[in-house]
């Protein structure tokens, strides 16, 4: 527990102690944190697990502190808790992910009713940009847990050579209502009515431009090829090291083009999987020590299921791909966790008062 004469002094203390992401935070007073804990519907001392590389213990209260600091409303807590549980899962390799020199950042994808009840979490125009409070503060809350519970500090325990802006916040929902495909979480084994948070390490989004050609029914193949080139571009870890999950965010127009070609989400993953490779001559010529003794054509993914596909964003020319790190014992695996919204405690007036009072 820290003490300060006023909130301005408290903010300076938090900056000095390395407890922030460099931007101003809401001061996590005991009263604000206790109300955030109360809204979670769980006891503050309940342990979720440990977060590397500092191996701090994540409790409901510690996570609530991060959520307050990030500017979350109590409504967002179930999603923040699910995101923290996802990165704590041993399969996520959080310790290695936090410590790597790669730029990887946790991309938080939200599916199901929690997109509305714990938000709204934006899935449309500019969903990964500024102006969406839930997206901004949920992703930021996860980052603050990684800083304050996981003890990731740039240059000493977080060794990312540059990082990327998604390390401040990186959260969006899937535009399920306007998508012609089954939602991402259903493809990963959940029920459509489940609320699910999927988290995976990701590079900054790479834009993929494509304009359809209504005169050519085969033009969708060009879109598939361009998306595959973005996912498995040779200098990315997916092209060079291979074997990690990666993300494709289709805008509504590109989704419609692929859907009109008769493809399901699973078909698209299969088509991309088959196109995501680096030819042996490129491996031989450019990969140096990463080429190995027998430089063959290199498949970027182990299976189509490693390519996560969702629809989000406004309608137009641009989709996004997020290549990934591909390292760690589990090679940058995506982890999906069900949002436990049922135990969330709805308190009249709390949602609007907790973050700022």
């Amino acid at each position: 527990m820290l003490s300060a004469l006023d909130e301005a002094q408290a903010l300076e203390d938090l900056h000095r102690n390395g407890c922030t992401d460099g931007l101003p935070v809401v001061i996590p007073t005991a009263e604000r944190v206790s109300r955030m804990v109360l809204a979670s519907g769980q006891d503050g001392d309940m342990v979720l697990g440990t977060m590397g590389p500092g191996h701090g213990i994540a409790t409901i209260e510690n996570v609530a502190i991060a959520a307050v600091m990030a500017g979350c409303l109590p409504d967002y807590m179930p999603v923040v808790l699910a995101a923290v549980k996802a990165v704590i899962d041993p399969v996520f390799d959080l310790t290695e992910m936090q410590a790597t020199t790669h730029c990887t950042a946790p991309l938080v994808i939200v599916n199901g009713p929690a997109r509305h009840s714990c938000g709204p979490i934006a899935s449309g125009t500019g969903a990964l940009g500024p102006g969406h409070r839930a997206n901004a503060s949920i992703g930021r809350a996860l980052r603050l847990t990684m800083i304050n519970i996981g003890k990731a500090q740039p240059g000493s325990s977080d060794m990312a050579l540059l990082g990327h802006p998604g390390k401040f916040t990186y959260c969006l929902a899937e535009d399920e209502e306007n998508s012609p495909f089954t939602p991402l979480h259903v493809g990963r084994g959940f029920d459509p009515d489940d609320s699910v948070v999927t988290v995976l390490g990701a590079e900054a989004p790479h834009s993929v431009i494509f304009s359809g050609d209504g005169n050519d029914p085969e033009s969708y193949r060009a879109l598939l090829e361009l998306l595959a080139m973005g996912l498995a571009n040779p200098p990315s870890n997916n092209g060079t090291l291979t074997g990690g999950h990666a993300t494709v965010v289709l805008n509504p127009e590109h989704s419609a083009i692929l859907h009109s070609a008769g493809l399901t989400r699973e078909d698209i993953a299969q088509e991309l999987y088959e196109r995501c490779f680096v030819e042996s001559d490129v491996v031989k010529r450019l990969f140096g020590q990463f080429a190995g003794p027998d430089p063959q054509r290199r498949m970027a993914f182990r299976s189509p299921e490693q390519i996560l596909i969702l629809q989000a964003g406004g309608s137009g020319l641009y989709s996004m791909v997020m290549p990934s790190w591909c390292v760690g014992a589990h090679a940058n695996a995506a982890v999906s966790v069900k949002v436990e919204a049922d135990i969330f405690c709805e308190i009249p007036g709390l949602a609007t008062s907790a973050a700022l009072d």
Binding site: S211, N215, L317
Partner: protein, 75 residues
């Protein structure tokens, strides 16, 4: 929208063609450039890349609206 406004400012009859996705942005541009009354006609979205058959259909559906907007300027 900006092209339409620039032409209108030169005294040349103009109609801005704006797809429904960009309609509110068109209003914003018109407001910020001080010509909120610039004539405009709404198109479905998307039109780019939807093929010549669809473009013909769209053109036929809005041609009268464009003519009306131009005729209104000659009044």
């Amino acid at each position: 929208m900006r092209d339409g406004i620039n032409l209108a400012k030169l005294g040349i009859p103009a109609v801005a063609l704006v797809t429904e996705e960009f309609w509110s942005q068109g209003n914003f541009v018109a407001q910020s450039l001080g010509m909120t009354t610039v004539p405009r006609v709404e198109l479905p979205h998307p039109v780019a890349g939807t093929g010549s058959e669809n473009l013909t259909r769209v053109a036929e559906s809005i041609a009268n609206n464009i003519l009306s907007a131009l005729e209104a300027q000659s009044d």
